[in-house]
Symmetry: C2
DNA sequence: GTTCGTGCAAACAATTTGCATAAGT
DNA sequence: ACTTATGCAAATTGTTTGCACGAAC
């Protein structure tokens, strides 16, 4: 089940690459798999450290370029975070909890938040593509360690 | 009216400084005024460029340290943005429109979004302090320049 | 007078770029 | 074969730190 989901997401990547005439390289596959395997919204560097163990010659440069490419292709998202860019393989609408002490970020699935709308008069001419609710607070770990 | 508001916010800064035994310096006042005067959620560097015209000897270091201090004091907020930290003098609950092309950020005042709640079961042990809705899309300028 | 802030220069970290080589189609 | 990606090193940008001097309380 998780297995099938990973396979289908990988296929999604291959299709997106082929449609844009981009080669499906080992690095791309590996970076994408790493992102699929985790839900902690890693930084570019965290992905680098993780993937490097399996592919030691891999360079940081490739991580940065590949993540940009994936965002362009729409197969992952770059998510705004006070401490720098984070990446998320979950492209469906969802929301986030962010710990203001340690920066930890967790997903929130809350369907009641998935249909919010902004009145036209408030849009300032923006063409809105998506939205997400950022809850900020202190995570369980940081509450106990204080 | 705007004038009164600026005055009262400046007073808020002075009170916060005194309560924490921090001197109210000319730089602090000037950086705070600059932030009060704009609603475009500038980066540290944008504030530096703006304030520097009136106070040429001011250093970047001071900007960074002062902004950190203000966030600590709770008189401004650091807001998450894909392209790095942004600062906002508006500490009341409000929401944002973000242009994914140019990074522009604008405030959204939409009272209907100010009372959202997250069910306890979804909170993962976080103590939630606040939240804000991030709408992402393409701003009017970027739509026309394409 | 004492404490804390500020400016400078240097350190550091994160991200980007140019170019030769390697891999995917 | 052709095109695009990759790795390396260097450049660039954003941010932090140590220290001597100056300003606010």
């Amino acid at each position: 089940m998780q297995y099938k989901w990973v396979a289908s997401r990988l296929q999604e990547l291959e299709v997106a690459c082929r449609e844009n005439r981009l080669p499906v390289t080992a690095q791309r596959r590996m970076i994408f798999e790493e992102l699929l395997a985790r839900d902690d919204h890693p930084t570019a560097d965290q992905i680098y450290e993780a993937v490097r163990t399996r592919m030691p010659q891999l360079s940081r440069t490739t991580i940065y370029r590949t993540l940009d490419t994936f965002v362009e292709l729409g197969v992952i998202r770059r998510v705004a975070h006070a401490g720098g860019a984070r990446y998320d393989a979950n492209t469906a609408r969802h929301h986030h909890l962010v710990c203001s002490a340690c920066g930890k970020m967790a997903d929130v699935l809350e369907p009641s938040l998935d249909q919010l709308t902004l009145r036209k008069g408030k849009r300032l001419g923006f063409r809105i593509d998506d939205y997400s609710v950022h809850f900020t607070g202190i995570c369980a770990d940081c509450q106990s360690h204080s």
